[in-house]
C-alpha cells in the first residue's frame, strides 16, 4: 500500500468520528502550546535579564564585604567576623590598576518626610560617580556634588515616585526633607528608570555616602560598584582590587569580587535550567495528550472491528493493518501539534504586542522538541491499539462473535 493512500485512509477514518478527533486534537494542541509558551516565557526572562545587565554596563565589578567561597576552615568565632569594607578602602581602590571610576554604596532604610507627608524608603549613600557607573540620568536639578566623599553634605536626590509622593505638584528641587534627625536639601530628581533587575530606583533617596554612614551609624559599606577601564581590563582590575584590599586588611582575603560577566553567566545558567524545567512540564502535558490518543485509538479499534476483519479478508497483512492505525495516531498527533504551534505563535505575538517591556521569545528548539515529543508519544501510544487491530482474528472480527 502506498504511503499517500495509507495517510488518506487514516484521514478519512479520523474524519468519521469527529467529536473524539476534535477533543484529542485540542488536548495535543494545548500540550504543544504549553511547551512552546512556557519555554518562550523562560527564554524571554533570560533575554530580559541579559538586557538589564548590559544596560548596567558591561565592564562592571562589584565588591562585597565578606568571603563568598567556603574554604573548609572552622567557622569564624566571636571577634573574627569579616572586616568591614570602609570608605577608605573605596577611596584607595580609585587608584588601583584598571579602575576607571567607582561608587561606594551604603544602604539602609529610613523615614523621609516633607511637611506632613512621611514615607519609609530605601536610602542609598554614595558619591557623584554613581550616576555614571549606573548609567542613570536626571529628570531635574543636579545629582550629588563631586568633591571629598568623606564630607557629609546635607543634600539629597529623590527618586521620581518618592518626589511626587512627598511634594505632590509642588516644586521638589530646592525644597527640604527630613531624614532621621537631619534636614537635607533636594538638589535633583532621578529620571524615570523603570525596573532594574526587579528593584526600582524610583522610590528611594540618594544622599552622600558620609551622610548615610552617619545616619545609619555604621562605617561599613554595603558594596562598591567599580567600573573598569574596559572589558579587557576586567581581570587585571579584579586582581588589583583583591591585592589592594588584602594589603589593607592585614593579609586577609575578606572581600568578594564579582564581575558583570560572571553574574550574567550565573543568571544565564539558572534561567536556562528554569526554561528547560518549565518546558519539561509542558512536555509532560503533551505526553498525557498521548494517553488520550491511545484512548481514541482503542475505541476506534473496538468500534471498527468488522472493518479490520474486512481489510484482512481483502488481503491486508498484519503490518498493513497496524500501519493504518499508527498513521491515524500520528495524524492526530501531527495535526494537533500544528494547531498548537499556531496557537502558541499567535499568543506570543499577541502578548508581545500588548506588553512592550517584557517580550516572550520562542527558542528555536522549543517547536522542534514539541513536534518530537508529540509524534513520539503518538507513536508509542498508537502502537498498542494498532497491534491489537493487527492481531484480530478476521473471522471473529467479521462475525462480531
Amino acid at each position: 500500500m502506498r504511503l499517500r493512500d495509507t495517510l488518506g485512509f487514516a484521514f478519512q477514518a479520523l474524519g468519521s468520528h469527529s467529536a473524539r478527533t476534535w477533543l484529542t486534537l485540542l488536548a495535543v494542541g494545548l500540550g504543544t502550546a504549553a511547551v512552546v509558551l512556557l519555554s518562550a516565557l523562560g527564554e524571554g526572562a533570560r533575554a530580559y535579564v541579559e538586557d538589564e545587565f548590559t544596560q548596567l554596563g558591561t565592564h562592571l565589578l562589584i565588591v562585597f564585604p565578606g568571603r563568598n567561597e567556603t574554604t573548609g576552615g572552622p567557622p569564624p568565632l566571636l571577634g573574627e567576623t569579616a572586616r568591614d569594607l570602609t570608605l577608605d578602602d573605596a577611596l584607595a581602590l580609585t587608584r588601583a590598576r584598571g579602575v576607571a571610576r567607582l561608587a561606594p554604596l551604603s544602604v539602609g532604610q529610613a523615614k523621609v518626610s516633607a511637611g506632613s507627608r512621611e514615607r519609609e524608603v530605601n536610602i542609598i549613600g554614595t558619591t557623584a560617580d554613581f550616576l555614571g557607573v549606573r548609567h542613570l540620568s536626571m529628570a531635574q536639578g543636579q545629582f550629588l556634588p563631586p568633591g571629598d566623599p568623606t564630607r557629609g553634605h546635607a543634600v539629597v536626590v529623590l527618586g521620581k515616585t518618592l518626589a511626587s509622593e512627598l511634594f505632590g505638584h509642588h516644586q521638589a528641587v530646592g525644597g527640604w526633607v527630613r531624614i532621621g534627625e537631619r534636614r537635607f536639601r533636594v538638589t535633583g530628581i532621578l529620571a524615570d528608570t523603570g525596573q532594574s533587575l526587579g528593584d526600582t530606583l524610583d522610590d528611594l533617596a540618594i544622599i552622600p555616602v558620609a551622610s548615610a554612614q552617619a545616619l545609619f551609624n555604621s562605617p561599613g559599606l554595603f558594596r562598591i560598584l567599580v567600573e573598569a577601564r574596559g572589558r579587557s581590563a576586567l581581570p587585571g582590575a579584579e586582581a588589583a582590587i583583591k591585592d589592594l584590599i588584602r594589603a589593607r586588611h592585614e593579609g586577609e582575603d575578606d572581600v568578594t569580587v564579582i564581575t558583570q560577566d560572571a553574574m550574567l553567566a550565573t543568571f544565564d545558567k539558572i534561567l536556562k535550567a528554569l526554561t528547560l524545567a518549565v518546558a519539561g512540564i509542558g512536555a509532560i502535558s503533551l505526553a498525557v495528550a498521548g494517553v488520550l490518543i491511545m484512548n481514541v485509538m482503542l475505541v476506534s479499534v473496538s468500534q471498527r472491528t468488522a472493518e479490520v476483519g474486512l481489510l484482512k479478508a481483502l488481503g491486508a497483512a498484519q503490518g498493513q493493518v497496524a500501519a493504518l492505525f499508527i498513521a491515524e495516531a500520528l495524524l492526530l498527533a501531527g495535526a494537533g501539534t500544528l494547531a498548537g504551534l499556531g496557537l502558541a505563535l499567535g499568543a506570543v505575538q499577541g502578548f508581545n504586542g500588548i506588553f512592550t517591556s517584557f517580550q516572550l521569545v520562542i527558542p528555536a528548539w522549543a517547536p522542534i522538541a514539541a513536534v518530537a515529543v508529540s509524534l513520539g508519544s503518538g507513536l508509542v501510544f498508537g502502537l498498542a491499539p494498532a497491534l491489537r487491530a493487527a492481531r484480530l482474528d478476521p473471522v471473529v472480527a467479521l462475525t462480531g462473535r
Binding site: 493512500d5 474524519g15 468519521s16 468488522a306 479478508a313 488481503g315 497483512a317 498484519q318 478476521p394 473471522v395
Partner: protein, 234 residues
C-alpha cells in the same frame, strides 16, 4: 464422492479437514473430516441446517481460518503451512468475499469501497480509477459511484460488494448467504450477477439456506454435523 467435471483442473482440494472450537471447557467439532475437490469454473451451492459448519468451511476456503487438521491446496499451492503474510497475499489476489451483511465501509462511497482492494495492493491511482469504473459498470452501478452505502438499497449494496470482490480479478468467489438480508427481487439480481461471474469462468461457492437458489447450482453440497452429507452434480 463426486469428482469435478472431467477436463477441468482442480482449483480447490480439501482433504481430511477438521476444525474444532473450544467453548468454555467443551470442544465443538465444527468440521470433521471434510474432503472436497472443486474444479476451475465450478458453481457450487453449500446447504445444510444451521450450525452444520457451512460458514466455517467457507472461512477455511477463504484462508480466513486455519483447519486443525487436514490439507488445503488452492490452485496447486498447499496453504496450511503458509505464513500469515503469504495467506493474506493469496486472499488479495485470488479470492473475492461476499458477506450476508455486505461489510461496506460506511464513510467511503461505492467507488471508494470498490477501490479498497486495489489500494491495499498498492495499484497506481490512475489504473485504480479505470478498474473501479469498469467493475462498477459491469454491475450497473455507474450512476451510484459516488453514493455512500447508506444512500443505497440493499441490493445495490450487495452489488457494490460484488464489484469489490471482483475488482482484483480473482479466480474464486466465496459468498456466505449473499441474499440473506435481501428481498426476493434484489436477491434475484444479486444471484444473477454472481452467476454472470461464473459464466465468465470464475469459480463460485455459495452458501445458502434457500433450496430454490441452491437448486440453480451445478453442484449441490449438503452439510450435516460438520461433514459433507450429500454432494450432487447436475
Amino acid at each position: 464422492m463426486v469428482q469435478p467435471a472431467s477436463g477441468e483442473s482442480a482449483v480447490i482440494e480439501l482433504t481430511g479437514i477438521e476444525r474444532r472450537f473450544q467453548v468454555g471447557d467443551q470442544v465443538v467439532a465444527a468440521l470433521r473430516g471434510v474432503d472436497l475437490t472443486l474444479g476451475d469454473g465450478d458453481y457450487a451451492a453449500v446447504m445444510g441446517p444451521s450450525g452444520s459448519g457451512k460458514s466455517t468451511l467457507l472461512n477455511i476456503l477463504g484462508l480466513l481460518d486455519r483447519p486443525d487438521a487436514g490439507t488445503y491446496a488452492l490452485g496447486g499451492v498447499e496453504t496450511t503451512s503458509l505464513n500469515e503474510e503469504r495467506r493474506a497475499r493469496l486472499r488479495r489476489e485470488r479470492i473475492g468475499f461476499i458477506f450476508q451483511s455486505f461489510h461496506l465501509i460506511p464513510r467511503l462511497t461505492a467507488a471508494g469501497n470498490v477501490e479498497l482492494p486495489l489500494t491495499l495492493a498498492g495499484v497506481a491511482p490512475k489504473e485504480r480509477r479505470e478498474r473501479v469504473a469498469a467493475a462498477l459498470d459491469a454491475l450497473g452501478l455507474t450512476p451510484r459511484a459516488h453514493h455512500r452505502p447508506d444512500q443505497l438499497s440493499g441490493g445495490q449494496r450487495q452489488r457494490v460488494a460484488i464489484a469489490r470482490a471482483t475488482v482484483m480479478a480473482p479466480e474464486l468467489i466465496l459468498a456466505d448467504e449473499p441474499t440473506g438480508n435481501l428481498d426476493r427481487a434484489s436477491g434475484e439480481e444479486v444471484i444473477r450477477a454472481l452467476e454472470g461471474l461464473n459464466a465468465r469462468g470464475l469459480t463460485l461457492i455459495l452458501v445458502t439456506h434457500d433450496p430454490v437458489l441452491g437448486g440453480r447450482a451445478r453442484r449441490r453440497i449438503r452439510m450435516a454435523d460438520g461433514a459433507v452429507a450429500e454432494d450432487l452434480c447436475a
